[in-house]
């Protein structure tokens, strides 16, 4: 132990003499991070990205990004002698001739799926807890950019092996590019160096996949983390937590051990899954050829919603003179996708404008305490879900023996009907939970134990709220909607900002209007005094009866009451 400390000291001295980093180290090693399971989601994304960089580097050692046709003569017998691109052949080699190659390929693919799942769920966590609010809007925008890049990167990655499934995906992508008005045809010819598929797209995509996008992701991730570090992490409301502090564990040793250990856990789980679960068996799909396809073709999950949108859009195409606009493709694949990511990136600014909330926030909202936001999020998930289901309409049709036409017609309507319903339901649930919190503060928790008083009255025993729960509920901030300004001032002159101000007030009212206000401190105090009194009375009844227990006569309706120590919950 002392040897370790001594060696560490020597290294620290050497470094500090040259870099003078002692103050930085002192601050950093002591830095406190709050603990909560949901804060691991971003970590999973980060670790998956590191695993992707590692495993991807291995794959580059054997993968040949070339579309030149060759005849395969490798270990995989079913495709022996078949003509295919070098890209596909080298992917077969990685899978069958390089020892550990299949493992690396599968680790790379699983890690990509985890990366996107983790980013998505992390983003949902940040959204539903309001962690994107001031001062963290910039980090939200970067996160939205990272998710967008991650999706593109994933699509680029699974398109590289040039198998029948991914080649079909590229063909669809080319069809989408062609549908872009005015520039589409030329854009497609530039991307593919002429007609589809040509010989150049995979080498070009390869550079984008291994250098350009990962480079940008790496840069963004670095800044993203530096901002988390600089602004300090948010925390959930709880005992001892305020807007001005961070309660948690210091970087050294606890957080370093936990976070470092967690990297190994993520890596380990990814490797174990790659050991036992085959992912993307390109050898089963066969090499790409533009005149074949397998039924039930599905993209990876994160592209499914876009494919679904393309599936359910009606066949609208405008022909104006010699020119055509393919709304049936342009609308879902370009306009919708662009709108989704734009709204996502802009959300913090929209909410801030609508609510006029300019304060710094370091304590997270519980989702119920921001009902409109939570409902909007649930609505977005429902919208995404509808598109995702649309992306699997053929699978649903064959699995459940339903008409594909009916499913598609239903989804065309459901995409507009289901999300608003989900909005209303979610908002109602949130408000009910707020009311429940309100009740808990005033009346405690229903214990489920019924007491019959000597007078024959039945009452339910309420237990006082635990300190942790109470702190959580009391962490809520009650927002008051912006007051509706009058159109004209007191002299009858039209308010120049009247329209915007009124719109904003309406928005703010829509956002906060239904808020269930927490009881005042005085109300809570009175309620607690009352509860303590009642509690005492109830337990004196229990105590009276307890004497009878000796006679083994069952007088208590709920045996659990006898188990409670009368004073255990008293303040």
């Amino acid at each position: 132990m002392s040897a370790v400390v001594k060696a560490g000291g020597a290294v620290a001295e050497y470094t500090d003499e040259r870099l003078g980093i002692a103050p930085f180290m002192k601050r950093s090693l002591n830095k406190v991070f709050p603990d909560h399971w949901s804060f691991m989601l971003g970590e999973i994304a980060l670790y998956s990205f590191i695993i992707l960089l590692l495993s991807g580097t291995y794959l580059t050692l054997w993968f040949k990004p070339s579309m030149t046709e060759i005849v395969y003569n490798g270990s995989y017998v079913p495709l022996d002698g078949v003509k295919m691109s070098e890209a596909y052949a080298s992917t077969l080699n990685i899978s069958f001739d390089v020892r550990g190659g299949l493992l690396m390929r599968q680790i790379h693919h699983w890690a990509a799926l985890f990366f996107l799942v983790a980013m998505t769920v992390h983003m949902l966590r940040v959204f539903f807890t309001g962690a994107f609010r001031k001062p963290r809007e910039l980090n939200w925008v970067m996160g939205a950019g990272l998710l967008t890049l991650g999706i593109l990167e994933g699509f680029a990655g699974y398109s590289l092996p040039d198998d029948l499934l991914s080649g079909t995906g590229l063909r669809i992508a080319e069809g989408i590019v062609l549908a872009i008005p005015i520039i589409g045809t030329w854009a497609s010819f530039l991307l593919f160096n002429g007609e589809f598929p040509g010989l150049d797209f995979i080498p070009r995509l390869y550079t984008v996949h291994v250098l350009l996008i990962p480079g940008i992701i790496l840069a963004l991730v670095t800044v993203h983390l530096m901002l988390v570090w600089h602004q300090k992490h948010t925390q959930y409301p709880g005992p001892g937590r305020t807007e001005k502090n961070v309660v948690g564990f210091p970087l050294l040793p606890v957080y370093m051990a936990k976070a470092g250990g967690f990297f190994f856990i993520v890596f380990g789980v990814t490797a174990l899954m790659s050991a036992i679960i085959t992912i993307n068996p390109i050898w089963a799909f066969g090499p790409y050829t533009p005149d074949q396809v397998s039924a039930g073709s599905q993209p990876d999950w994160y592209m499914g919603w876009l494919d679904g949108a393309v599936r359910i859009t009606p066949n609208w195409e405008w022909n104006i003179g010699a020119y055509s606009i393919s709304w049936n493709i342009f609308l879902p694949a370009v306009v919708l996708a662009g709108a989704v990511f734009t709204v996502m990136g802009a959300y913090p600014f929209i909410e801030r404008w609508a609510t006029g909330d300019n304060r710094e926030h370091h304590i997270l909202d519980r989702p119920r305490n921001a009902p409109t936001r939570t409902a909007l999020g649930a609505m977005a998930i429902a919208f995404y879900g509808m598109l995702w289901i649309s992306g699997g309409n053929d699978i649903i049709a064959t699995t459940f023996d339903l008409s594909i036409n009916t499913i598609t017609y239903v989804l065309r309507i459901a995409i507009f009907v289901v999300p608003p319903i989900i909005f209303i339901i979610t908002k109602r649930i949130c408000l009910s939970l707020q009311r429940r919190d309100h009740d808990k503060l005033l009346h405690g928790i229903e214990s489920g134990n019924i007491l019959r008083t000597p007078e024959g009255e039945f009452i339910e025993i309420h237990l006082p709220l635990g300190d942790k729960e109470k702190a959580k509920i009391l962490g809520k901030v009650d927002h008051t909607p912006i007051a509706l300004e009058s159109d004209v001032d007191e002299n009858g002159v039209a308010n120049p900002k009247g329209r915007t101000a009124r719109l904003r007030a309406k928005f703010s009212h829509w956002f906060y209007g239904d808020n269930v206000y927490l009881p005042t401190a005085a109300e809570i105090e009175a309620a607690e005094a009352h509860a303590a009194h009642e509690y005492h009375e109830q337990h004196s009844v229990i105590d009276d009866f307890r004497g009878l227990e000796v006679t083994s006569e069952p007088v208590l309706h709920s045996p659990a009451i006898g188990g409670h120590e009368p004073n255990a919950h008293e303040h």
Binding site: L178, G194, P239, F264, Y323, I325, D394, A471
Partner: protein, 362 residues
């Protein structure tokens, strides 16, 4: 560094008494809960047990790495084993993945177990610093910037400013212009629009089966049958070009129905019909986004695209009956040659594959 509490101490000892702290809603912040010691904190036996557990995990990790090396050398890469639930799997992949994955997992599990059981679990309170800078700092920064801007003369020397802005606006242009040759366009190359509008099908081109390049006689196709076909010259064209471009446009299907079932065709006359005794030829490339189509329902003569479920009625000019495709599948006019084999009468009369901006101009 006054804002940092020493790890391992409780907040209260540092005077962060919750009484003087307020939540944004104006309420006093609830007090931190007292720390509850873990078993390992109070029972040396429990601590030693945790220590043993952690070191066992680390030891196992090392052993598994050795097992990985053994598996790498010993297991032949072609051995496949069948496992319950999982199915068949490369034995090498399974062994390498399990040993490596478990080794890595155990390092992580050991570290986290160590942190949870033996490292301090007392929550520490740290103050947040105000993110905004002080007004004085801000003003100073602005004045430094102003002074610099003043000294540069960026504001006062208009001619420099304007020429610089122009130059900076123009300099990315070459970087964009160079991208024009992403499509290395051959001299006299037809426009993209023209290229997309023609295939290698020509008058008299033999229709052959896809894959085996066998010419087809009308009697080879039974009523209700579907054959995937390509032009006979495709084999040679692919050899010369080395690409799949020609195939991506020329791939077609032949279907046969009784002539009475055909309600309409895209062209042809009594003297020059586009079908041969109820044999119709259509492009195989979907007019939606270009997937090859071959899901054919004999009874209804409907062709369904497996990608986005566009459905075409081949008995009725291949018009769209369902789905997102806007254009019908182009029909290839066919006839028989002197030797009785099926041939094309001409190229497609409508362009094949996905729609594009200039599609109406050719």
């Amino acid at each position: 560094m006054s804002d940092i509490a020493t790890p391992g101490t409780t907040a209260d000892e540092h005077g962060h008494d919750s009484g003087d702290l307020e939540l944004p809603n104006g309420r006093p912040a609830p007090a931190p809960l007292p720390h509850e010691p873990r078993r390992a904190d109070v029972d040396p036996k429990a601590a030693r047990r945790a220590e043993r557990q952690v070191s066992t995990m680390f030891l196992l990790a090392s052993l598994l790495v050795i097992a990985f090396i053994v598996a790498y050398i010993a297991i032949d890469k072609n051995v496949v084993i069948a496992l319950p639930v999982i199915g068949t799997m490369s034995a090498s992949n399974l062994a390498l993945g399990l040993t490596f994955g478990l080794a890595v997992f155990l390092i992580g599990a050991g570290a986290i177990h160590w942190a949870k059981k033996l490292m301090p679990d007392v929550e520490v309170v740290q103050e947040r610093h105000v993110l905004e800078s002080s007004p004085a700092d801000r003003e100073e920064a602005i004045s430094v910037f102003d002074a610099g801007a003043q000294e540069s003369g960026f504001g006062s020397r208009k001619i420099i400013r304007r020429t610089l802005i122009t130059a900076l606006a123009l300099f990315p242009l070459p970087l964009v212009i160079i991208l024009r040759d992403l499509w290395v366009t051959p001299t006299d190359s037809p426009s993209p629009n023209e290229l997309l509008s023609e295939t290698i099908w020509t008058k008299g081109e033999r229709i052959v089966t896809d894959g085996s390049y066998r010419p087809i006689r009308p009697e080879d196709i039974p009523v209700g049958g579907l054959v995937n076909v390509v032009p006979a010259s495709l084999e040679k064209v692919e050899e010369v070009e080395g690409t799949l471009n020609a195939r991506a446009k020329a791939a077609s299907i032949l279907v046969r129905m009784t002539p009475a079932e055909i309600r309409s065709q895209q062209g042809g006359s009594a003297e020059e019909p586009w079908d041969v005794h109820g044999i119709l030829a259509f492009s195989k490339i979907c007019t939606h986004v270009g997937c090859p189509i071959s899901l054919y329902q004999q009874r209804t003569h409907q062709l369904l695209c497996p990608c986005h479920q566009s459905t075409f009625d081949l008995a009725d000019s291949a018009k769209v009956v369902f789905g997102p495709a806007a254009r019908r599948m182009p029909q290839l006019p066919i006839t028989v040659d002197a030797e009785g084999y099926l041939v094309a009468r001409s190229d497609f009369q409508e362009h094949v594959g996905p729609s594009f901006w200039e599609q109406g101009s050719s």
